[in-house]
């Protein structure tokens, strides 16, 4: 009989709040060390925590998208332990009344659906960041007090594939609910896996692999760890509860520490923060404001005729998808083509987000409208897009500035066509004699004459119509 893997996953996610959980200091990433911390974050004597309502709201959102039951009455607890990254030597967390319980996420693997059960999710404060060098350890308190939620699954995951699917789905949900940036590389999402193997219904010895650097590596770490445990068991060894880390370069898990029995955090209710009551109205109000989640967007995009490839590209680029969500009554297919094409290319080139450009929703809607109704050509679009994104001018103003005329004006196009017909009498004759390739040449001349500013489709139709009159 084979060993069965049993995996439970704990994820810490930083909430995207303006301020910290218990102080008005700014919640930021990448700022100058110790520039965003105040006396509360430093655990100064006499300081007391305040409570960031935005963090509670985001935690309600998270609990809601993870299908958790939300605690209507909750409190915070102190978890007491000494470590230099823990300024008060206690962490304010939720032990007794986590904000969410008994939730689940549905994953789908080759058409098979499975619910990954979530035991609980709670709110807590982040520690500060330790930077170890040979001689000493430096502390950066910018991270101290940043709001976190910790999401703990039941031990209901049995393959590395399930684990990675769960994490991808979790990330997507929290990202789209605007709860967190979920950037594993920046530490705003951190994954720990508890792995055990057993041949019977009784679970084996649990081994924790902490702070795994990517979702892919979670899968690799699980498979490595399960294999390592199996080899030990087969060799007649017994396993001890321990904490390990995954070294991606070596592709191995490495022992950090053996768990001591009875780790005693001396939890007790935080006396400085009164109990919090969440009314049903309050919860509903928060839930109402959750942005459209990825799966709903996915369906909508497919329905509007966007290709599956582009749908996936959009979902993977939340900024663009968010932008698309804000466009009202616009042809999504055209808009998505523009966003994923020249616009994204430009954004990548200048390393900016779409919100940082001059491409307002109004300008974008105008571009889509003009393209769809053949007022401008794709060539025109390419010619003006950089100006549209960098100048505080309307699309029409930019077209004027670029000397791109109102090319939909048939008489203007006709003038060009007539000039081309006069200049190329012999080719016209060829066409009239049935040489279809002559049309292509003439069309090329029209485009050249107009410097590409006419809509090719309109020009082509008009050219044929005009030539027909010569027959």
């Amino acid at each position: 009989m084979n060993y069965q893997k049993t995996i439970g996953i704990e994820v810490h996610v930083e909430l995207k709040t303006k301020e910290k959980l218990f102080s008005p200091a700014i919640n930021s990433y990448g700022s100058l060390a110790n520039s965003n911390c105040n006396i509360i974050d430093l655990g100064y004597p006499g300081t007391l925590p305040t409570l960031n309502q935005e963090a509670i709201d985001l935690a309600i959102r998270a609990a809601s998208v993870l299908n958790c039951k939300i605690s209507k009455k909750m409190h915070f607890d102190r978890k007491n332990y000494f470590y230099p990254d823990n300024p008060k030597n206690f962490q304010i967390t939720q032990e007794g009344t986590p904000i969410g319980r008994d939730g689940y996420i549905e994953i789908e693997d080759n058409g098979t659906k499975k619910k990954i059960e979530i035991l609980e999710m709670h709110i807590e404060e982040d520690t500060c960041k330790s930077i170890h060098s040979k001689e000493r350890t430096l502390l950066d308190f910018n991270r101290a007090g940043v709001p976190l939620i910790e999401i703990v699954t039941k031990p209901c995951i049995h393959t590395s594939r399930e684990a990675t699917l769960y994490l991808e789905r979790l990330r997507e949900l929290l990202l789209y609910a605007n709860v967190s940036d979920c950037k594993i590389e920046e530490g705003s999402m951190r994954c720990d896996a508890n792995i055990s193997i057993s041949k019977t219904d009784t679970l084996g010895t649990k081994i924790e692999v902490k702070n795994i650097g990517s979702i892919t590596n979670v899968g690799l770490a699980i498979d490595y760890e399960a294999k390592r445990q199996e080899e030990l068991l087969e060799a007649g060894k017994t396993l001890k509860e321990e904490t390990r880390r995954y070294d991606a370069k070596l592709g191995k898990t490495i022992l950090m520490r053996v768990k001591e029995t009875g780790n005693d955090y001396r939890y007790f209710p935080e006396p400085d923060i009164p109990y919090i009551t969440l009314t049903e109205e309050k919860i509903q109000e928060v839930v109402k404001n959750i942005p459209t989640l990825a799966n709903i967007r996915r369906e909508k995009y497919l329905k509007s005729g966007i290709s599956l490839i582009n749908v996936n590209k959009l979902i993977a680029n939340k900024d663009l998808s968010d932008y698309l969500e804000e466009l009202d009554g616009v042809n999504l297919k055209t808009a998505s083509n523009l966003l994923l094409g020249d616009i994204q290319a430009y954004l990548n080139k200048v390393n900016k987000t779409i919100k940082e450009t001059e491409l307002t929703k109004e300008k974008m809607a105008e571009l889509v409208e003009k393209l769809d109704s053949n007022i401008i050509s794709n060539k025109n679009f390419k010619d003006i897009i950089e100006d549209v994104m960098t100048l505080n001018l309307s699309v029409s103003e930019i077209l004027d500035k670029k000397g791109i005329k109102n090319v939909r004006d048939d008489s203007l196009v006709l003038d060009i066509i007539n000039k081309v017909i006069i200049d190329n009498q012999s080719v016209v004759l060829d066409y009239l004699n049935g040489n279809e390739r002559a049309l292509k040449f003439l069309m090329g001349q029209v485009m050249k004459e107009s410097k590409g500013s006419v809509n090719p489709k309109i020009a082509n139709d008009l050219l044929i119509k005009t030539l027909e009159t010569k027959k």
């Binding site: 004597p45 007391l48 230099p84 030597n89």
Partner: protein, 479 residues
């Protein structure tokens, strides 16, 4: 020497208003008394800052409606005053200089009061004699062989010896009221949440409360007016906006008073009971209705206090670790740094309480002791609330005995808890309670306590002022 500071606040204000005296005269008088009497009431004296402030105030027209203008005040050394040392009477914070003002200090500074210095106390407010101070312990001005009480001993001595008319103390299990009793002054522990705790170094967060210590009831109510304000920096602070002097002088004849039998049982010394009964007789003869009542769980307060206060203290004092501020013993390993810093930094009593508190919160103990204590605390609160449904106020002696000899408690840590056996209930329930002088025993003042329902400070002051007037004690050191 001038004795302006012996005048009432209203009289001092009148002199300032008429330009007869200046704030600097008051400050110099404070310093003179302080330097002369050598009572160790202060840990840090701000000669420079107080004088500078007094001279600055000469450029401001004395505002008619600000009785606090230019008045010296003493602050217990566990309350943060920007740029002054805040030691909590501990070696671990011996050289810690505050970089911010507690919310109460901002209020005091806004009214242009003058902070004379930081007063001596039991280390981290743990004790009831002020003898656990790392510094030289303060002395009772009535008798130099006696303790001044604690933990706000220095703040009580400052007022009793006339150094300042006002001081601030903090009260976790009687630390304002017991020294008030031992020094013959008035000390109020307000309703929990009435005064912001932001900037008060936490001992037991769910019990701590800052309160005013003064020479008389009226001035106590005045100071509470000033320091009580809802504060967004303290989530446990409450909406509060009232004049606590408003009932003073109103008739008390119709008040119904309860005296818990436990508070007049043999846990209190006979002489103290005699003085207390005298007061009760006076009140009865004036027409107040006084009943002796039973209160459920009333005898459990010292046990609850030890569990809850020590549990919370063990966590609150964890931050003093030598990493970010305060004493830091540089050792080769982190564990040694922690060990050495905390072993040397804290005194015996503080370490004892941290150990007991850690034990109480450990593993299963949290359920057996701490959670159980919280339940009984809730029941105790309810049984007091039941009394307040029928009675306006509760009366009791403040302490079971007057100030006792220095060193008496030293080898018996439990004795110190028994000192507070009559005062902890107010902290457990969050109720307001005030101690005021009720008489003298062998030359030493002794206080009585008026306890009220939540937010009933004004009623306490009403009866307190009446008793003060009826007894007409006018206790003054040296007279």
């Amino acid at each position: 020497m001038n004795n302006y500071l012996d005048l009432s606040i209203a009289e001092i204000h009148e002199l300032l208003l008429n330009g007869k005296i200046k704030p600097i005269d008051l400050v110099e008088e404070s310093f003179k008394k302080l330097d002369d009497n050598k009572l160790n009431a202060f840990i840090t004296i701000d000669y420079e800052g107080a004088r500078k402030k007094a001279l600055e105030l000469e450029n401001i027209k004395v505002p008619k409606d600000n009785l606090f203008f230019g008045i010296p005040i003493a602050i217990k050394d566990n309350i943060m005053v920007s740029d002054l040392r805040c030691t909590c009477a501990s070696h671990i914070l011996e050289n810690f200089i505050s970089i911010y003002d507690a919310s109460v200090i901002s209020l005091i500074k806004n009214m242009n009061m003058i902070i004379i210095g930081k007063t001596n106390m039991d280390e981290f407010a743990m004790g009831s004699t002020s003898e656990t101070s790392y510094f030289k312990a303060p002395i009772n001005p009535w008798n130099k062989d006696k303790v001044p009480g604690g933990s706000s001993g220095g703040s009580a001595v400052a007022v009793a010896s006339g150094i300042t008319p006002f001081s601030l103390g903090s009260d976790t299990g009687g630390s304002i009221r017991q020294p008030a009793s031992f020094n013959g002054i008035v000390g109020m522990k307000p309703t929990y949440g009435r005064v912001s705790r932001f900037g008060l170094v936490a001992f037991a967060s769910s019990l701590d409360q800052i309160g005013p210590m003064t020479r008389n009831v009226y001035e106590n109510a005045l100071l509470l007016n000033l320091i009580s304000q809802k504060d967004d920096k303290d989530l446990t602070s409450i909406e509060t906006n009232e004049d606590f002097t408003r009932l003073i002088g109103k008739d008390v004849k119709n008040m119904k008073i309860a005296v818990p039998k436990y508070f007049v049982s043999d846990i209190v010394e006979k002489e103290v009971l005699e003085v207390f009964n005298n007061v009760l007789d006076k009140l009865k003869s004036y027409g107040l209705k006084i009943d002796y009542v039973d209160v459920n769980h009333i005898d459990k307060a010292p046990i609850l206090y030890q569990i809850i206060a020590m549990g919370e203290a063990s966590s609150n004092l964890a931050r003093f670790d030598g990493i970010r501020y305060g004493l830091s013993k540089q050792e080769a390993t982190l564990e040694d740094l922690y060990k050495k810093t905390r072993s040397e930094g804290f005194g015996v009593e503080v370490k004892r309480r941290i150990m007991v508190g850690s034990y109480i919160l450990s593993g299963e103990n949290a359920k057996i002791y701490y959670n159980k204590a919280l339940q009984i605390r809730d029941d105790l609160k309810k049984s007091f609330e039941k009394i307040y449904k029928e009675y306006d106020l509760i009366l009791a002696p403040t302490s079971s005995r007057p100030a006792y000899d220095v060193g008496l408690n030293k080898d018996d840590p439990l004795r110190s808890f028994m000192d507070d056996i009559l005062v902890m209930h107010a902290n457990m329930g969050g109720f307001p309670s005030m101690s005021l002088p009720m008489g003298k025993i062998s030359g030493l003042p002794i206080g009585m306590q008026i306890m009220g329902n939540m937010l009933d400070e004004a009623k306490i002051y009403q009866l307190g002022a009446f008793i003060e007037k009826e007894l007409n004690l006018y206790l003054k050191v040296g007279e």
